[in-house]
């Protein structure tokens, strides 16, 4: 579904990614693991088109999406949830309505109702400012907004960012409920997300150091110890 091969990129003239190669299949959940500054967020920004691809291949369903602008990639079925994920000064409902700007298949009301069905706590607070919600609820708004745009692949940048462990678990549970209906690429440094992952890629120093199944990762003690200090 998403094929990345020998991708290089950076900010201005500063190279940040040297050799990113990974592959994500349809309806798969892949966690892209890496420490702070490893290049995970930069990779997602290149994938969605916010940063230019310097060299390498970036294909979605066999189509080269590298020359496409952000809007075109979104039309192609690529979704993106930033670290913040929400517009804090807009209400929950306004945030969700923004997610429907690119879709024309259903009425906005139906789409929002679907999200409320999935995340009932958001319905109760639909008129509240998103910035006033708990950390976990904010992430649900961000996920809901991303889902309304009906992406085939959703790229998520650190959904655990700024959350206490309790809320992290809540977000993980909610993401697990999406399994089978969407392809997720989750850039994370929190290893708990492996519990819902089918595959994992490890980025370190702007290079892919590992890509494979979660069980292969779990069996690779050297890798775990080298990059995450897990014994």
């Amino acid at each position: 579904m998403l094929e990345v091969s020998q991708l290089t990129s950076g900010y201005g003239s500063m190279q940040v990614l040297w050799d990113i190669s990974l592959s994500v299949k349809e309806n798969e959940i892949q966690v892209v693991l890496g420490a702070n500054g490893a290049g995970k967020s930069t990779f997602l920004k290149v994938a969605i088109g916010l940063l230019p691809l310097w060299s390498g291949d970036l294909k979605m369903n066999g189509t080269n999406i590298a020359p496409l602008a952000v809007a075109e990639r979104v039309k192609h079925g690529l979704g993106y949830m930033s670290e913040q994920g929400i517009f804090p000064d807009l209400s929950v409902e306004e945030n969700l309505r923004l997610g429907s700007l690119r879709t024309k298949t259903k009425s906005v009301g139906d789409q929002i109702d679907n999200i409320y069905e999935r995340f009932p706590e958001l319905k109760e607070r639909r008129k509240s400012l998103a910035g006033g919600l708990s950390g976990g609820q904010r992430k649900l708004v961000g996920i809901g907004r991303a889902l309304i745009s009906e992406p085939k692949i959703l790229l998520m940048d650190e959904p655990s960012s700024g959350l206490s462990p309790r809320y992290v678990n809540e977000v993980i549970e909610r993401l697990a409920e999406l399994r089978g209906g969407i392809t997720l690429v989750i850039a994370e440094q929190n290893i708990s997300f492996l519990s819902i992952a089918d595959t994992v890629s490890v980025i370190e120093g702007g290079k892919t150091r590992f890509t494979g199944s979660v069980s292969d990762f779990n069996n690779n003690d050297t890798l775990k110890e080298a990059f995450f200090g897990i014994e």
């Binding site: 993106y80 930033s82 000064d89 807009l90 306004e94 997610g99």
Partner: protein
Amino acid sequence: MPKLDDLDLTLETGSKGKKLISPAIAALVPIVAFAVGVHLYSNELLLTYMAIYIALAQGINIIYGFTGYLPFGYFGFFGVGAYASGLVMLDYNVPPVLAVIIGGVAGALVGAILLPLFRLRGAYFAIGTLAASEAIYTIISNPSLQSITNGPYGLNLAGFYSSGTAYGTAIALAALSILATSFVRSSKFGLTLKAIRDDSYSASMAGVNVPRQRFYAWLIAAAIAGMAGSVFGWSTSVFYPQAVFDPALSVLAIVFALFGGVGTIWGPTIGTVVLYAIYNAIGVSNPQYFQLIYGMVIVLLVLFAPRGLAGFWNYITTKITTVRAKND
């Protein structure tokens, strides 16, 4: 207890009927208030200026309250509108009401020309608009253009003056500006503007065409200021360039809008009515006290009600509702 803009909330989620009724009420209130007000308070010109300032504050509300871009040079559109309408009245004998519309179009055209200013952000944008408006003032008041603009000697529209019609047009303009804000606040267009104000980067990711939406908001705000300047020139009859290209116009409109609360429908209107009334009650006879009171109002506003009267009201009502809910 209802929040100040509860009417607006029904716009977003209510029935089609409510969608039409709420803006109609928002526009009808000032029409009725001004229509009755002129019988209770005889200074029609002052009320005309108040209506003009309501329009200007709503224009600031649209561009600043909904997109976050603060134009210190907003007075430039006001002056362009005053001159464009005045010149078509004098040179082509265009009826004043039509000239007001032409003034609005002229304001929007200048807004389109100044579009590159959006490459700037924050204080740079504010100062950039100020510089652009000063440049327009310098051109229009240039003695070498006397054959076209009458240079520094201004325009005399006394032959077109009609107090009742000018007053009615000012009220209609105030109502129109409130309707425009209602539309912006309740529409998908307004939603995209608010997203731009929050985070233009993420708004772009959500599918918002940031430059286009911002441009439309800018044009609406510029057209409102152009029409406001036209009505001002017409109702004042004789004006000089420095009167319609006065930075104080921008400052007052910004303060009125902020005092009432930007991003709301009622805030800028209430802010204008309260502060302009204070200005005329003491500002003319005792300007030293007026400056003191204005300064205090602004300090108190920043300290205790950064979202203006509307924000303060919403804060109080939310507190009361929370306490009641706890007691129940």
